[in-house]
């Protein structure tokens, strides 16, 4: 036998065993070859696989293993040496690769494992995030619901709408079966079912407010789960077998205006607050439970409702207040208009009556005095005198009443001017002289040396006041003496306890004149003193003496207008009385030579100006003679206004004109009529300007002029001296009739 290169297997081959091994090896090889193919296929399919080279290694390992097993197929039988060498090579390679792979796997497997753990971690995280997303979404939805609810609730300011809307929207959002609102009654001891969602007209269920469940709900601002069997939740009859859904109740604070103090915030003690109760029921048999976010929703809504309600309440209040104010406004307006109408009517009446009453009065007085001058029998004379006296009184009364009503409206204003204070007193004395001499009273005037000769004030009204006071003194004294004292009040004496409201403040331009009239007549009882200055109030004694009761009231008004004060003191009946008044007068500025402080320009140029500022109205149709007369008067310092016709004269004549010089040369044109009209216009003698006729015509007689009420007649031509003399005579005597 030659030595063959064949290698025999170690043991004798068993046929069956070898067959099985053969098959298994084949299949193993197959498997080993297919695994890498699968791997490659799937890895190719997946985009990411970080360990490619591992794969190659693994693939090589498997392929080699497969190859080994495949080659093994040939070793079961006699095989050549080549096969044995190939087999050995393959095994060697396989061993190398497997060891390399095994070594490599030691590094790779932990990595792979960590990948796995990371994956697990991420999955957990994702699940958690999902959960949280779910939560946020529910919260956001809740928020949306709340906003919508709030918007619905706040979009109206009507209480009922607010509450109704709340229930409706809540019911919709939370899918409630029933929703109800219990409001506290007026007494605050019970809760009354006011609104429900499903039931149309809630019957007036009431529950006492002291129930424990209610107290529990009221004690916290959270929504509280309550039992469906509590009285507040038993709103509809439970239909037997159904399990009622969960019920939640929440308090709704009812804020009142009184809760809001100006500087404090509303107190949070529950004792001062009133609450309403809102009860919400989930649908029965739904197995739904109240979730936390739903409860939060309910709480927020309850708060919003409270705010909306309080706004509505405030608005209601303010609307009510505004309506009330408007009503009052209308009423006030009406009253004011009525008052204005009344005043206007009264003024119209007065204006008319003023004229209407005075004209006949004057006619009566004038005619009565004319009558007096004619031949009368003694009885007739007596009658005429009585007529005269009564009509004078009446005229005075009329004037006083009219004056007083003018004073009342405040429409009277003082006419301020510079005047001779001393002469005012002298004039008053002159005026009362006749009566005083008849009654055999003694009147003394004490003018303090510090009383200035000139003062600024309303001469006419001051005279009226002094005359009234002195007149009263004379009237109510049957005998004895009357003393008039006047001096400038100093600061100490100004403050008087009798007149506590009166705070005179002397200043540089003004002084207070203190006048006191003391008489020893009838006196006044202390209780009558306060009434003295009220209009029309007459005491017993004055009633008999014939006064209108207006004199002192008027005086008081005048004195008040002059920023002064007047009062009367008396020691009692029969002990005489003293009338004292203080008035504020201005001090005229001094100028060196002149008596009157104004018109210094005139004084500088005219050495002989006797009548500075004297306002004269000249009426003459002839331009030349008008100019000449004006020139004469201007030369004497007068303030001259010229008019050329009767109408113009009547238009221009005013209280300021002291003299009216009227040309009456033309017998045809009636200057007399103008005089009469001027008389009508100025009813008070001391207001009326002196009317003097200028004429070159001897047909104009003194009598004619007197008849129409003129105060003088002058023959033309007039020289400067003559004019001067005329004016001074006129102003002194108030009458001038030249010998014609």
């Amino acid at each position: 036998m030659e030595s063959c290169n064949c290698i025999e297997p170690q043991w004798p081959a068993d046929e069956l065993l070898i067959k099985y091994q053969y098959i298994s090896d084949f299949f193993i090889a197959l498997a080993y070859f297919s695994i890498p193919l699968e791997l490659i296929y799937f890895v190719k399919k997946s985009a990411v696989f970080p360990y490619r080279w591992v794969l190659v290694q693994f693939g090589a390992f498997i392929v080699l293993c497969g190859a080994t097993h495949l080659i093994n197929l040939w070793t079961f039988t006699m095989h050549t040496r080549t096969v044995a060498i190939v087999m050995t090579t393959a095994k060697v390679f396989t061993a190398v690769v497997s060891c390399a792979t095994a070594l490599m796997l030691v590094h790779i497997i932990p990595d792979l494992l960590s990948v796995k753990t990371r994956e697990l971690f991420l999955k957990n995280k994702a699940a958690e995030l999902d959960r949280e997303m779910g939560l946020i979404r529910t919260q956001e939805e809740t928020g949306r619901h709340v906003r919508m609810l709030t918007h619905e609730i706040r979009s109206t300011l009507d209480r009922h709408t607010i509450l109704k809307t709340t229930l409706v929207e809540l019911g919709r959002t939370l899918a409630l079966e029933e929703c109800a609102l219990w409001m506290p009654t007026r007494t605050g001891l019970e809760l009354q079912l006011s609104y429900t969602l499903r039931q149309q007209n809630p019957v007036g269920y009431t529950v006492p407010i002291q129930l424990p469940v209610i107290s529990q709900v009221f004690s916290t601002n959270h929504a509280v789960k309550i039992s469906p069997n509590s009285p507040v939740a038993k709103l509809r009859p439970i239909a037997g077998k159904y399990v009622p859904g969960e019920v939640v109740a929440v308090r709704v604070p009812l804020l009142h205006l009184s809760n809001f103090q100006i500087n404090d915030w509303p107190e949070l003690s529950s004792s001062t607050k009133r609450y309403a109760l809102m009860v919400l029921m989930l649908p029965s048999d739904s197995a739904r439970q109240w979730h936390v976010h739903e409860l939060e929703l309910v709480e927020v809504v309850a708060d919003q409702v409270a705010v909306a309600l309080s706004h509505a309440a405030i608005l209601e209040e303010s609307m009510r207040a505004r309506d009330l104010l408007m009503e009052q406004n209308v009423a006030l307006d009406l009253a004011r208009r009525e008052a204005e109408t009344a005043i206007r009517a009264r003024n119209d009446f007065l204006a008319v009556m003023n004229h209407e009453m005075r004209t006949p009065m004057h006619a009566i007085i004038a005619l009565a005095s004319l009558l007096q001058e004619t031949d009368l029998t003694p009885e007739q004379r007596l009658m005429v005198e009585t007529i005269l006296k009564s009509s004078s009184l009446l005229a005075t009364l009329i004037n006083d009443v009219l004056d007083l009503s003018r004073l009342e409206d405040g429409s009277l204003q003082l006419e301020l001017g510079t005047f001779n204070l001393h002469s005012v007193f002298r004039e008053v004395l002159n005026l009362v002289k006749p009566i005083v001499s008849v009654k055999k009273l003694l009147v003394t005037l004490n003018l303090a040396p510090d009383v200035p000769e000139y003062a600024i004030g309303d001469e006419k009204r001051l005279m009226q006041t002094i005359l009234n006071v002195v007149g009263n003194a004379v009237k109510f004294s049957k005998e004895g003496s009357i003393t008039i004292t006047a001096f400038v009040a100093k600061s100490e004496s100004l403050r008087d306890t009798r007149a506590p409201d009166f705070f005179p403040i002397p200043s540089d331009n003004h002084f207070y004149l203190h006048v006191q009239v003391k008489d020893s007549g009838a006196g006044i009882s202390p209780q009558d003193i306060p009434k003295l200055f009220t209009k029309f109030a007459q005491t017993q004694s004055t009633k008999n003496s014939g006064g209108s009761g207006l004199g002192l009231a008027i005086c008081k008004r005048f004195v008040n207008l002059m920023e002064g004060n007047i009062w009367i003191e008396s020691d009692g009946i029969g002990k005489g009385c003293t009338a004292i008044f203080l008035v504020k007068l201005g001090i005229p500025e001094r100028l060196n030579e002149s008596k009157f402080p104004f018109m210094p320009k005139v004084l500088a140029t005219h050495g002989q100006a006797n009548f500075p500022g004297l306002k004269v109205l000249v009426m003459d149709e002839n331009g030349v003679s008008r100019m000449v007369t004006k020139g004469l008067l201007v030369n004497l310092g007068c303030d001259v206004t010229t008019v050329s016709s009767g109408e113009e004269c009547l238009r221009m004549v005013s209280l300021e004109h002291k003299v009216v010089l009227m040309d009456v040369c033309v017998p045809g044109k009636d200057g007399y009529e103008i005089a009469i009209r001027i008389h009508e216009k100025f009813t008070k003698r001391h207001e009326r300007p002196l009317i003097v006729a200028l004429t070159g015509n001897t047909e104009v007689t003194k009598d004619n002029c007197m008849r129409v009420g003129m105060d003088g007649v002058i023959l033309k031509p007039i020289s400067l001296d003559k004019m001067r003399g005329v004016l001074s005579d006129l102003l002194e005597h108030r009458v001038l009739f030249e010998a014609m």
Partner: protein, 153 residues
């Protein structure tokens, strides 16, 4: 200055003649007394006014008297009355005297008489105007030459 005293003498002569010849009377003196710093042109103003008035009135009267049919004596009388008043106001004596006569003729409704008087009025007015204008001119010249106007008794 010689011119000034000459002018002044002329002024005095002229004024004296005015009075002597009866053109103006005491009333004119009164007017002059009214002239002062406050009203420096008083006399001139019044006199100018008078002359304007005069002219107007004379024209009115002439027109009225020219009517052939019915002469409105009332109107003429009214104008004469005005003229009389004006002239007596400034002291134009001669004019005034003519007016007095004029009025009587008017009352008598004597047209011839009225016309004659109108002529006279016109003549007197013109004379007076001349004289017064001379007087004023003299015054101005004196003042321009720096002198003062002498007072005439």
């Amino acid at each position: 200055m010689d011119t000034v005293s000459q002018l002044q003498r002329q002024f005095v002569d002229h004024t004296t003649s005015l009075y002597r010849e009866g053109f103006v009377d005491d009333q004119f003196t009164q007017l002059q007394k009214l002239q002062d710093e406050n009203s420096p042109d008083f006399v001139v103003e019044v006199v100018t006014l008078f002359f304007d008035d005069c002219e107007k009135l004379i024209n009115n009267m002439a027109r009225a008297l020219e009517q052939q049919q019915e002469v409105d004596f009332k109107q003429v009388d009214a104008s004469v009355h005005q003229l009389k008043g004006s002239s007596s106001s400034i002291g134009a004596m001669r004019v005034k005297n003519v007016c007095v006569t004029f009025r009587t003729f008017c009352e008598a409704q004597n047209r011839e008489g009225c016309l004659r008087c109108l002529q006279q009025v016109n003549r007197e007015y013109s004379l007076l105007k001349n004289k017064l204008q001379t007087l004023f001119r003299l015054e101005q010249q004196i003042v321009a030459a720096g002198g003062t106007i002498p007072a005439v008794e």
